[in-house]
């Protein structure tokens, strides 16, 4: 994998997690560029999704949902804790499975309707 990426790039491509402080390598083991911390899954608001280009916000973005978009990839939906903007980014193989699981289960633990109705599914 590292054959494809010059070592100078690798050295400059780590970032500290805004939430937990972990030093995160910018590339996941599968070679994809990371934008969130694999330990706490937080991201940082550095791109403006509406107008494109960099964002001034730079606040932490909390992971709120798992979604499969049209490209078929499993994506993590992030919500900026300051301005509320939403982003989606591919889930990496080494992302914290427990936090992913907690996120998936949370809505089902407090459904807006009684689940007893759906006993036959």
């Amino acid at each position: 994998m590292s054959n494809d990426i010059p070592s100078s790039v690798l050295r400059t491509t780590a970032f500290p997690c805004v939430r937990c402080g972990l030093t995160v390598a910018a590339f996941a083991p599968d070679g994809r560029r990371r934008n969130h911390c694999p330990r706490c899954l937080y991201s940082q608001h550095v791109r403006d999704q509406v107008e494109g280009g960099p964002s001034e916000c730079r606040s932490g973005m909390s992971p709120i949902a798992i979604a499969v978009l049209r490209n078929g990839d499993w994506e993590l939906i992030h919500n900026c804790t300051r301005c509320g903007e939403l982003t989606s980014n591919p889930i990496c193989g080494d992302d914290n499975q427990f936090i992913l699981m907690r996120m998936a289960v949370r809505p089902l633990a407090q459904p807006p309707f009684p689940l007893e109705t759906f006993g036959d599914l």
């Binding site: 999704q49 509406v50 709120i64 949902a65 798992i66 979604a67 499969v68 978009l69 049209r70 499993w74 939906i77 919500n79 939403l86 982003t87 989606s88 193989g93 499975q97 992913l100 699981m101 996120m103 998936a104 289960v105 949370r106 809505p107 089902l108 633990a109 407090q110 459904p111 807006p112 309707f113 689940l115 109705t117 759906f118 599914l121």
Partner: protein
């Protein structure tokens, strides 16, 4: 009086608008996905922004929900569910035309089975979960 040649033009399609600026069909809109005619008033929300049957929405809002300042008008598919801190469910919509994401409150008459299927999807189909749940 000579009759005009019969026009071969197809009748104009009804516009798929939520709240048209001119108040088109002010009290209802037709879903761009399942074609259901949906009344605008929804139990439990100020304004309805998605179809209660298939949960599809239309990209009409800009930065602020309800501002109707977006010109995209693409179809927005419901791609996920999240729970707010108070437990209320939000639908995550993804615009199939421009990629914009938005989060919208569910309405009291949203199709519960469709909501549940969406919420179950990561647990039912996400490969790493399946591998670990099979232990």
């Amino acid at each position: 009086m000579p009759r005009r040649k019969p026009q071969r033009r197809r009748p104009q399609r009804r516009k798929d608008v939520l709240h048209g600026p001119g108040g088109e069909r002010g009290d209802a809109f037709r879903c761009t996905s399942c074609r259901l005619d949906v009344p605008l008033t929804a139990p439990g929300t100020a304004h309805r922004n998605h179809c209660p049957h298939c949960l599809t929405s239309l990209h009409v809002d800009g930065r602020i929900p309800g501002d109707r300042r977006e010109t995209c008008r693409g179809r927005m598919a419901a791609v996920g569910v999240t729970a707010r801190h108070d437990g209320e469910w939000l639908l995550i919509h993804h615009c199939l035309a421009c990629g914009k994401l938005s989060a919208n409150r569910i309405a009291g008459d949203d199709n519960a089975l469709a909501l549940l299927r969406l919420a179950m999807r990561p647990l039912a189909a996400y490969p790493p979960f399946n591998a670990q749940l099979a232990l």
